[in-house]
C-alpha cells in the first residue's frame, strides 16, 4: 500500500510542477502583453492567484467541496444503515485510520465521488439514485473504489491539480476577454507597431488559448491510471470483482449529460458524468472506458489480488503493465461468494419501490414468471441466456432481447 502512495506522489509532484509552469507561462504572457517589461510581474501575479486558490481549497477542505456538489452529511446511522455499514467495512479492509465522512447528493443519476486532503479529513459522497439502483455487493464495490482513492491520496492530488487547472482556465479566460475588450484601443496606440512585438504578442495569445487545453490533457492523463489503480484496490478490499463490475455497468447505463458537474470535479467521480457507456477512452477522457474497466474486472479469476488484476489488464492491453511493481504489497485471498440474495434490495420507502417498478418498465425489463410463484424481473443489462430462480432454484431460458416475455407463461 505504501509503495502505491509513494509512486503516486512522485508522479503527482511532476504533474503539479508541469501545471504550475504552465500557469506561470500564462501569467508571464499576460504581463508581457500589458507591457513587454511587465512579464515578470504577470508571472508573480499568476503565482499569487494560484497560491490563494490553493489555500482556500485546502483550508475549506471536504466540507466546501461537498457544499459545492450540493451534498448533505449523514450523521445518524439510521438514515442510511447499509451505507454506513459498508463504509465501515471498507475502512477496515483498506486499513484507513478512521472512516471517512459520508454524504448523500439528491440526484436520480447514480454516481459517487470522494474528496479530502488526508485520511482524517476525507469524505465520500453517493447520490440517492445510486442507492436506489445498486445491491449490497455493488455498493460495496463502489465504496471500495472511492476509499482506494482516499487511501492512495488521489483525493489530495485531485484537489491541488484541479485548483491549478482552475487557475489556468481563470487567467486565460480573463486574458482573452480583456483582449477583445481592448482591441479597439490597441489599434490607436502606435508605439507597439513593430514586427517583433507583434509576433511575441501572437505567441502570448496562442499560449493563453492553448494552455487550458494542455492543462486538461495533463490533468486527465494522470487520472486515468489512477482509476485502474483504484479498481484494482477495490478488488483487493472487497474480494468480489463482480460487485464493482456490475455497479459500473449500471452507473454508466444511467448517465445523462449533466450540466451541473464542473470540468474540475469530473475526474473525481467513479464514472465521469459527462461520458456515456459506449464511448472509448481517448486522450481527452478523465476515465478509462467503462467497457474496458468492466471486462478487466470480469476476467479476474478466483483470486482477488492486485496481481490478478494486473494479469487481467495485460490480457486486454497487449501485456502492458498498469500496476507494475506495486503488486509487491499484495495479499491473495479467494474471491468470496455474493451476499445473500435477501439483502439485494436496499430498504427503501414505498415510493422508491414504485419508482423502481416504473424504471424497470421504461428500461424494457423482461419478466419471467416462475412456477413457484415468484416473478423475476431481468435487468436490461443481463447478458446470460438463462437465469436461476432465486427462490426455488429452477432454471429458466431467456429467449432473446427481441422477445421480451418468456415462454414460461405459455407453458
Amino acid at each position: 500500500m505504501f509503495s502505491i502512495i509513494r509512486s503516486n506522489q512522485r508522479k503527482s509532484a511532476f504533474l503539479i510542477a508541469a501545471l504550475g509552469l504552465l500557469l506561470g507561462l500564462v501569467g508571464y504572457a499576460i504581463g508581457f502583453y500589458i507591457a513587454p517589461s511587465a512579464g515578470i510581474f504577470g508571472l508573480a501575479a499568476a503565482l499569487i492567484v494560484w497560491l490563494l486558490l490553493l489555500l482556500t481549497s485546502l483550508a475549506g477542505g471536504e466540507a466546501m467541496l461537498m457544499a459545492q456538489a450540493g451534498a448533505r452529511e449523514i450523521t445518524d446511522k439510521r438514515d442510511a444503515p447499509q451505507l454506513v455499514n459498508i463504509v465501515e467495512e471498507m475502512q477496515i479492509a483498506s486499513g484507513l485510520s478512521q472512516p471517512p465522512k459520508i454524504y448523500i447528493v439528491d440526484s436520480t443519476i447514480p454516481n459517487a465521488f470522494a474528496v479530502g486532503r488526508n485520511e482524517k479529513r476525507a469524505a465520500v459522497a453517493v447520490t440517492t439514485g445510486l442507492l436506489a439502483r445498486l445491491n449490497r455487493d455493488e455498493l460495496q464495490g463502489v465504496i471500495a473504489h472511492e476509499i482506494a482513492h482516499i487511501r492512495h491520496r488521489d483525493t489530495l492530488f485531485m484537489t491541488i491539480a484541479g485548483t491549478t487547472f482552475g487557475a489556468i482556465v481563470l487567467l486565460a479566460d480573463f486574458f482573452v476577454r480583456g483582449l477583445r475588450f481592448s482591441a479597439a484601443g490597441q489599434r490607436r496606440s502606435s508605439n507597439r507597431n513593430n514586427n517583433g512585438g507583434a509576433i511575441l504578442l501572437i505567441l502570448a495569445l496562442l499560449l493563453s488559448i492553448l494552455a487550458p487545453l494542455l492543462a486538461q490533457l495533463l490533468y486527465f492523463a494522470c487520472s486515468r491510471r489512477r482509476e485502474y489503480l483504484a479498481d484494482a484496490s477495490a478488488v483487493q478490499f472487497t474480494r468480489y470483482p463482480e460487485g464493482l463490475a456490475s455497479a459500473l455497468e449500471k452507473i454508466a447505463g444511467a448517465q445523462k449529460p449533466d450540466a451541473a458537474t464542473s470540468r474540475v470535479l469530473a475526474p473525481m467521480y467513479i464514472i465521469n458524468p459527462q461520458a456515456a457507456m459506449g464511448r472509448d477512452s481517448t486522450w481527452l477522457s478523465t476515465h478509462p472506458s467503462t467497457k474496458d474497466r468492466i471486462r478487466i474486472l470480469r476476467s479476474i479469476g478466483s483470486t482477488a489480488s492486485l496481481q490478478a488484476y494486473e494479469t487481467a489488464y495485460q490480457n486486454f492491453h497487449g501485456g502492458k503493465h498498469v500496476l507494475g511493481d506495486l503488486t509487491a504489497t499484495d495479499t491473495a485471498e479467494p474471491v468470496r461468494p455474493p451476499a445473500p440474495i435477501a439483502l439485494a434490495a436496499v430498504a427503501l420507502p414505498p415510493a422508491w419501490r414504485t419508482a423502481r417498478g416504473v424504471l424497470h418498465e421504461v428500461d424494457d425489463a423482461r419478466i419471467v414468471d416462475c412456477s413457484c410463484g415468484l416473478r423475476i424481473r431481468i435487468p436490461p443489462a443481463w447478458r446470460g441466456s438463462e437465469i436461476t430462480c432465486p427462490r426455488c432454484g429452477s432454471i429458466h431460458k431467456i429467449e432473446s432481447a427481441s422477445e421480451p416475455t418468456s415462454s414460461q407463461r405459455d407453458a
Binding site: P81, E89, P338, A339, A347, G384, E386, T388
Partner: protein
C-alpha cells in the same frame, strides 16, 4: 586495550538486546490491537443474535430446532470468547456461522419474514458484522505472521526465548459449508 574491546562488545550486545526486545514488544502489541478489532465485532455479533431470534419467533412457529441450534452455537461462541483462545474462538464462530446459514436457508420459505423491516435490518447488521470480522482477520493474520517470524528467526529468537515471547495463533474460520442461500448464476 583488551578491556576496552570487551567493554565495547558488551555494550553493543546489550544495545542489540534492547533493540530486539523492544521490536518484539511492538510486534506483539500490533497483534493485540488487530485482535481487539476482531473481538469487538464478535461481541457485537453475539449481541445481535437474541434480537434476531426474538424478531423471527412470531413468523416461524415450527422451526424450534433452528432457533435452538443458533442459541446453542451462540453460547458456545461466547464461552469460547471468554477463554481468549484463538483456535477455540475460530472453531466456535465457525459453528455459529453454519447455524446462521441454516437459518437463512429456512427463512427463504417465509416471504412475510423476509419483508419484515426489523428482520432485514438485523440481517444487514449481521452480514456487515461478519464482513468486518473477515476483513479485520486479514490484518490480524498479517500482524501474527510478522510477529511469529520475528520469534523464530535469528537473532530475535534468542531474545524471544529469554523474554518469554510466545508465538501467536492465526485466526481462520473454517468455511466448509457452501452458502445455503440460492444465488443468481452469472
Amino acid at each position: 586495550m583488551t578491556g576496552l574491546v570487551i567493554l565495547g562488545v558488551a555494550v553493543a550486545l546489550i544495545l542489540m538486546f534492547v533493540g530486539l526486545y523492544n521490536g518484539l514488544v511492538r510486534l506483539r502489541n500490533e497483534v493485540k490491537n488487530a485482535w481487539a478489532q476482531i473481538d469487538v465485532q464478535l461481541k457485537r455479533r453475539h449481541d445481535l443474535i437474541p434480537n434476531l431470534v426474538e424478531t423471527v419467533k412470531g413468523y416461524m412457529t415450527h422451526e424450534r430446532e433452528t432457533f435452538e441450534a443458533i442459541t446453542r452455537a451462540r453460547s458456545g461462541a461466547m464461552s469460547a470468547q471468554a477463554t481468549g483462545n484463538v483456535g477455540q474462538i475460530a472453531q466456535a464462530e465457525g459453528v455459529l456461522t453454519g447455524a446462521l446459514r441454516g437459518f437463512y436457508a429456512v427463512a427463504e420459505n417465509y416471504p412475510q419474514l423476509k419483508a419484515d423491516a426489523n428482520f432485514r435490518q438485523l440481517q444487514e447488521e449481521l452480514t456487515s458484522t461478519e464482513n468486518k470480522v473477515s476483513f479485520a482477520r486479514q490484518f490480524y493474520n498479517d500482524a501474527v505472521l510478522k510477529y511469529n517470524t520475528a520469534c523464530e528467526t535469528i537473532p530475535s529468537n534468542i531474545v524471544a526465548g529469554i523474554g518469554g515471547f510466545k508465538k501467536a495463533e492465526f485466526f481462520e474460520i473454517k468455511d466448509e459449508a457452501e452458502r445455503a442461500v440460492p444465488q443468481v448464476k452469472f
